[in-house]
Symmetry: C2
């Protein structure tokens, strides 16, 4: 058994040294060249290391790209979860969603997710892995929506699970469309609308949890 080869699939040891460098290079390549452009050779060029190292450390290119996706998914989860859990009104959530979207857009995280989803569409095996990494986000939204809707009239009609799925689907769809035509104006406009409309939606919820000062 080697010490950092790809066999240790038990996962989650903080990637050290070279392995981390490779994952970072893959991340950067996904951002700049897209999924289709993220070959082992291109990633190696990007990170100035030997192409063969990809296979030594990760076994396949696919596994490397998933490791890169894990990198961003974990980072984003750590960065946003606290503020998200803290938010207690629809308005705050709308504002947060808007902030997160543009922060992700600026540092390329939206790109990476979109690229990996695109890759997953054409490869069922990869697709399952990608969707598994989306699951925690759906659950996060579901929990929050659940507490917000609890006891309200809306809550008796709208299951949190559906609303959470719709939210992530919408986020992903906006990502895809903006990505396709390189135009962020429409996404901006829509997220601004969300911020404006949120207080009205909040008014339909039990006052205890509704709009705060």
């Amino acid at each position: 058994m080697e010490s950092s080869g790809h066999k240790d699939a038990v996962a989650e040891e903080p990637l050290g040294g070279t392995k981390a460098r490779i994952a970072e290079a893959a991340l950067e390549t996904l951002k700049t060249r897209g999924f289709a452009g993220s070959s082992a050779r291109e990633i190696a060029r990007q990170g100035n290391f030997n192409q063969a190292l990809v296979f030594y450390h990760f076994g396949t290119v696919q596994k490397l790209l998933l490791a890169a996706l894990d990198l961003v998914s974990d980072r984003r989860m750590h960065a946003y979860q606290p503020a998200f859990e803290r938010a207690s009104s629809v308005s705050e959530l709308a504002a947060l969603a808007r902030e997160i979207y543009f922060e992700d857009l600026d540092n390329g995280y939206v790109t990476v997710l979109g690229e990996m989803v695109a890759g997953g569409v054409s490869d069922p095996e990869l697709g399952r892995e990608v969707v598994a990494r989306l699951e925690p986000w759906i659950e996060l939204v579901e929990r929050k929506v659940g507490t917000l809707l609890a006891g309200s009239l809306l809550g008796s009609i709208v299951p949190p699970r559906d609303l959470a799925f719709a939210t992530i689907a919408l986020y992903l769809g906006i990502d895809m469309l903006s990505h396709l035509d390189g135009d962020r104006a429409r996404a901006e406009s829509l997220l601004d609308l969300g911020v404006r409309a949120a207080p009205l939606l909040g008014a339909l919820l039990p006052s205890g949890r509704a709009e705060k000062p």
Copy 2:
């Protein structure tokens, strides 16, 4: 100038004979093998014709795939537009959306759109072409939403353009997610919710256009 070569880019002559056969084969390949699996060779195998014909008739594989996308986009537009224009309440629209989604799902049209969007994400040039083919759908929804919202309280807050963009984005996002994990249960559940919730939304609109018998 040849009679049916790919040079006549002025477009829209109804594809005849072999050219049509090739486009149909591309469509079928997109459905069964996905974007990544739709190479000139694979398409030719699917349609039992020579690989070189792809390049003679369409110039590049990309152009052929776009022609296949046009095929489904046009068919769907013709099939659904009349019923869509006729619908005059939120309830009818929700029911129609649900129907369309599952019809598309069953005959593979959702797949084709999802695959081409995925392909477009990784290739900017293709992406622009794909989004251009989505535009008519956004406009269709925008017109309908515009007439429905006109004069209502909601209409003074929600611009039709934003709502149309959100609708298509949501449709695409649901498509992508369902596609990724091969699970149609969540999409079903969400579309059912839409049908249940539609009458409530309709109640917020001017009564003249609201829920009909």
